[in-house]
Structures are given as structure tokens and as C-alpha cells.
């Protein structure tokens, strides 16, 4: 069969809702596209551990100290699952990790920002994990089957994280004025980044991942789902949302954000790996990685057992 014949068959297969496995024939742009997408997801999970681990030392109770550590542990576990899936598409984990720490590959925008206090923990656990869950639940329909299989576990753990984040937020929201102020402060700093998280309006003709059904929904569609679900929940707790301020459209029932209110400049900077914390966090990872080559060497071979 010629390449074109295979491509035609593959394209119909995808259009009919067919799934793809690691061993199947796939066009190069499918392989490259899905690898890059999953690699970025894996990178995001391991980079996402960094802002949250910065909040761990100051956890306000023993239970929260353990549960936050467990949550971050889950995120690292997610990166482990995702790198494994990506490896089977032809790139070693070592290479993916090297590309990450040298700034050659990307990770989600939200993990380029600083954290300041426990209010950030509530916000990240509730709204950022909430946003991630919206996109990840949609990805369970992806054409790439190995990805959908790990997403099943990832989504169920993210559900737990969401409840954990909401629990933390509700405690603060019901607490002292200072506690409420902490959450509001976090909201004021993170809101725009959350809007950016979904990306700018999708361009279906140019979007390879949409064409190949690796992604099945547009960015603006996912963002709208997030807004409709979470804006009322935030407002009913008596918090306010900064620019871009969502307003309720009574006709459609949607919570809408005006395009002209969204400043995309910070996201553009992040795409160049120039976010507020990007350089520092990547440098930290790089130093850890370089300084521990001896550990990888010690792990390279089966143990030598003395008699």
C-alpha cells in the first residue's frame, strides 16, 4: 500500500471515530503532534509540582500538610504515567526531561507563576485543577487510545484534588477576615492566568490536533464550560472576580468574558518561556538534574550482589 493509500485509510478511520494504538501505522504529523501534546502534558504535571511544593512547608495543619503532599505526589505520578505513554511514541524519558529543563519544550502557563500563601493552595486546588479537569475530561475522547487510558486514572485523581481544593477554599471562605482576604488575593492574581489556560480561540482548519481528533473540543468551548460551572460558585461565596470580569448573559444562560478584556501579552511571554518564574524554576530543575547524574549512573545497572 502506498503512503497515500495508508493516509486515506487512516483519515477515514479517525473521521469515523476510530482509535489509534502505539503499534498502529500513523502519519508522521499525527505521531509528532500527539507526542508533543502528551509530552507537554507530562511536563506540566512535573512543573506543576513546583509551585505547590513551595506552599508545603507552611501548611497550617498536620492533615493539610499530608493531604497537600499527597496531592503533589499524585501530580508527579501523573507525569510518570504520561511520560510512559509519550515514550512509546518514540522519544525517551531522558530526552524529554532534558528538553524540559533546557527550555526546549513547553509546559502549561499556570505553572510559570509565583505562589505566596495558603490562599494560593485553595485557589490552585479548586479553580486550576477544576480547569484542568474540564480539559482532561474532554481529552478522554481523544483518538489516541493509550492517552485515554491513563486519563481515566488521572481524571479520577483530579476529581479528588478538586474536592480537596474546594474543601480548603470553603474553610477559608467561612473563616476569619484574614483567611477570606488570602483567597481573594489569590483570585486577584490568578484569574487572568486561568482564562489563558484554555488558550486563545481555536482555529479548526489550522489545528492539527483537532483535525486528527487528538483534541475533540475547541479552546473557547472548554473555557465556556469552566466559566459556567465555576463563576457562580465563586460569586456565591462573596468573592469578586477581576479583569476579565465575567457577566451573566440572561438569554443564553452563559457567563461570558469579553475578548477585548483579555490581555494575551502574559501568555505570549510564557510561550517564549519568559514567564515570571520560568527561568528560576527551570534552572532549579536543571541544577538538580545535572547534580544527580551519579544517581542515574547508580541506577543504570542491575545491583551487584555480594555473595
Amino acid at each position: 500500500m502506498t503512503y497515500d493509500d495508508k493516509l486515506t485509510r487512516f483519515t477515514s478511520h479517525i473521521e469515523e471515530g476510530g482509535k489509534v494504538e502505539a503499534e498502529d501505522w500513523m502519519p508522521e504529523d499525527y505521531r509528532r503532534g500527539v507526542l508533543k501534546f502528551i509530552e507537554m502534558h507530562a511536563n506540566s504535571e512535573i512543573m506543576g509540582a513546583l509551585p505547590e511544593r513551595e506552599c508545603l512547608p507552611r501548611a497550617p495543619s498536620l492533615q493539610r500538610k499530608m493531604s497537600l503532599a499527597a496531592k503533589i505526589q499524585d501530580e508527579v505520578g501523573h507525569s510518570q504515567l504520561l511520560y510512559r505513554v509519550a515514550e512509546d511514541l518514540g522519544k525517551s524519558r531522558d530526552n524529554m526531561y532534558a528538553d524540559l529543563v533546557t527550555g526546549h519544550s513547553k509546559f502549561h502557563n499556570v505553572f510559570h507563576y509565583p505562589v505566596y500563601h495558603w490562599g494560593d493552595v485553595g485557589l490552585i486546588g479548586w479553580l486550576i485543577d477544576g480547569a484542568a479537569l474540564v480539559t482532561q475530561a474532554a481529552l478522554r475522547d481523544s483518538s489516541y487510545a493509550p492517552y485515554t487510558r491513563v486519563l481515566k486514572r488521572i481524571c479520577s485523581e483530579e476529581q479528588l484534588h478538586l474536592r480537596h481544593g474546594e474543601d480548603i477554599t470553603l474553610e477559608m471562605a467561612s473563616g476569619t477576615n484574614q483567611q477570606r482576604a488570602m483567597f481573594q488575593d489569590a483570585l486577584d492574581r490568578w484569574w487572568l492566568a486561568i482564562i489563558h489556560f484554555f488558550g486563545p480561540r481555536s482555529k479548526p482548519d489550522k489545528d492539527l490536533l483537532l483535525r486528527w481528533k487528538v483534541k475533540t473540543r475547541t479552546n473557547e468551548d472548554l473555557r465556556q464550560e469552566f466559566l459556567d460551572r465555576y463563576v457562580p460558585k465563586v460569586l456565591e461565596l462573596g468573592f469578586t472576580l477581576p479583569t476579565p470580569v465575567p457577566h451573566h448573559d440572561h438569554e443564553s444562560g452563559h457567563w461570558l468574558v469579553r475578548d477585548e478584556d483579555i490581555d494575551w501579552a502574559p501568555l505570549d511571554a510564557i510561550k517564549r518561556n519568559e514567564g515570571p518564574e520560568t527561568a528560576r524554576r527551570l534552572k532549579l530543575r536543571r541544577e538538580m538534574y545535572d547534580g544527580h547524574r551519579w544517581v542515574r549512573d547508580s541506577m543504570a545497572e542491575p545491583a551487584v550482589h555480594t555473595a
Binding site: 508545603l56 498536620l62 476569619t176
Partner: protein
């Protein structure tokens, strides 16, 4: 006291000993948790985080044991005391350093802990004995984990082996200071709270761990020469230790590594305590 509580009164010795046990676990758990997201191998990151969580959980259990009997709160004990009130051994508060130092401390600590937990299971205090039995079940994994890593690195390439040897030697007597007598240890002994004295347990610790180090080819003769050794040791290319001949003050003397049981801590604990207690301290009365 809550309904149904034992009529066993809360002795000063009980509070001293159990607070110190909880403090050791909390502080080392805090240090271990700093590796979350950063460990040198992703699967190990996940595994080591469980160990950190376990230690913090043990601390919570120890503090709860006290809190129930003194009408206090475990979080208040964990996060609400002044620096000088913490009674953990200094080895727990030391900065993590690199993975070699972390492994060395993990191995030394968990073996010390195993020795004292074994003895505490015979404590006259039933609540403590039962808790210790439960903790020992979790600690089995910690020991296997530590032993597997130490063995692997000790038998592996020379760079890892020499870093590990250096770290173990440097920290050894600080770890042995886990057996520095508790405050009110005499009272504890009299009550049979502590079936075996701390100095006796320390002997066991030193004997067991140095024997294992010898077996691993990480000769422990330098460690055995004693607590007041002040010469600096460097690793040779084969990973063995040789005295550099310097009379520097960087030796691991017991005097420098002890004092934790009396609330004397190092500058490492200053920033640790600041972080540990920060949110709790700055929001009195708040629930989280």
C-alpha cells in the same frame, strides 16, 4: 478528660518522651517532603513522598496521644510551640543537601527508629505500645526502601559510593544522638515507660549499623574511633575513607550533634521553624 478515658494520669515523663518522638517524626517528615517534585527519579519521587507523609502521620498520632490526655490539640503541639520547645534530635532538622545526604539520613534515622520502636512496644503505657506496633508495620517499607537504596549505591559506580560514604560518616554521630537521653528519662525509666535506656539503645544502633556498613564495604572503622574525633575525612577514589590530616572543626563530634532533646537547635531549625509554624502562627484561632 473525655468520657471513657483511662484513669492513667499523664506523667511528665510521658509528655516529654512522646513529644520528642513526635518532633523527630514531624521534622524529618518535613525535610523528606521537600523532595516532593524534585527527587532524582520520577518513580522514586512518588515513593519518597509516601515516606514523608508516613512520618508526618506518625507525628500526628504521637501528638494526638498526648492531646487526648492533656486536653490539648495535635496541631497546637505540632505548629504552635516556640523554637526552644521542640525536642527533636538535630539530625532531623539538618538541611537536605543532595540525594546522598538524604539517603544517608533516611537510612540512619529509620534504623535508629526501628531499634527504639522495637523496645517501646514493651512500654508500660498501653496507648503508646499499641501506637508503636502500628507504626512499626509502616516502617517495614521504610527500612526495605532505605536498605535497597544504600546497597545499590554502595555497590555501584565510585562517585555515588563515595558521596554516600562521606554522608553517612558525616552524619553518623548526629544520628546516634537520636539516643541522647530524653528529658525526664530517669522518670520514664522508673515508670517502665522506656523498657530499655537510651544509652543502651544507642549501643545497639552503633553496633548494628557499623556492622552493616562493613558488610557493604563502607568501612566503619573511622566511625568507631569515637565521638570526639575531629579530623576531617575524605573519600579516596575507591570510596574508602582516609584522614586528610587536617585539624579542621568540621568533624561530627557528638557535642555538636547533640542537644536536641534539651531544645537546643541549630540555625537550620530557625528557617524550618519559621516556615513550619508561619501560617498557623499568623492566624490564631483560625481553622483550616
Amino acid at each position: 478528660m473525655s468520657a471513657g478515658a483511662e484513669t492513667q494520669s499523664v506523667s511528665k515523663a510521658f509528655v516529654s518522651v512522646v513529644t520528642a518522638l513526635g518532633d523527630d517524626e514531624l521534622i524529618i517528615g518535613h525535610r523528606h517532603s521537600e523532595w516532593t517534585g524534585f527527587a532524582p527519579h520520577i518513580e522514586e519521587d512518588v515513593a519518597f513522598s509516601s515516606i514523608a507523609q508516613d512520618e508526618i502521620g506518625h507525628a500526628a498520632a504521637y501528638y494526638s496521644l498526648i492531646a487526648r490526655l492533656t486536653e490539648d490539640d495535635a496541631d497546637r503541639i505540632a505548629l504552635g510551640r516556640s523554637r526552644a520547645e521542640y525536642r527533636h534530635a538535630i539530625v532531623c532538622e539538618m538541611a537536605n543537601g543532595d540525594w546522598a545526604r538524604t539517603l544517608a539520613r533516611h537510612w540512619l534515622y529509620d534504623h535508629a527508629d526501628a531499634i527504639r520502636l522495637e523496645s517501646l512496644e514493651d512500654s508500660s503505657n498501653k496507648g503508646l505500645a499499641q501506637l508503636v506496633a502500628k507504626i512499626r508495620r509502616e516502617e517495614r517499607y521504610h527500612l526495605i526502601h532505605a536498605d535497597t537504596w544504600i546497597s545499590r549505591v554502595a555497590h555501584g559506580p565510585v562517585e555515588g559510593r563515595s558521596k554516600l560514604t562521606h554522608a553517612v560518616t558525616e552524619m553518623f554521630w548526629s544520628a546516634a544522638a537520636l539516643f541522647e537521653p530524653f528529658e525526664d528519662e530517669d522518670l520514664a525509666g522508673a515508670e517502665d515507660l522506656l523498657p530499655v535506656t537510651s544509652p543502651k539503645l544507642q549501643e545497639r544502633f552503633v553496633a548494628q549499623t557499623t556492622a552493616t556498613l562493613d558488610e557493604l564495604g563502607m568501612p566503619a572503622s573511622v566511625i568507631r574511633t569515637g565521638a570526639d574525633e575531629t579530623a576531617e575525612f575524605v573519600a579516596s577514589s575507591s570510596g574508602d575513607l582516609i584522614a586528610s590530616g587536617n585539624d579542621s572543626d568540621s568533624g561530627a563530634s557528638a557535642a555538636a550533634s547533640g542537644g536536641g532533646r534539651k531544645g537546643r537547635h541549630t540555625s537550620d531549625f530557625e528557617s524550618l521553624w519559621d516556615d513550619l509554624t508561619y501560617t498557623y502562627r499568623n492566624n490564631p484561632g483560625a481553622t483550616w
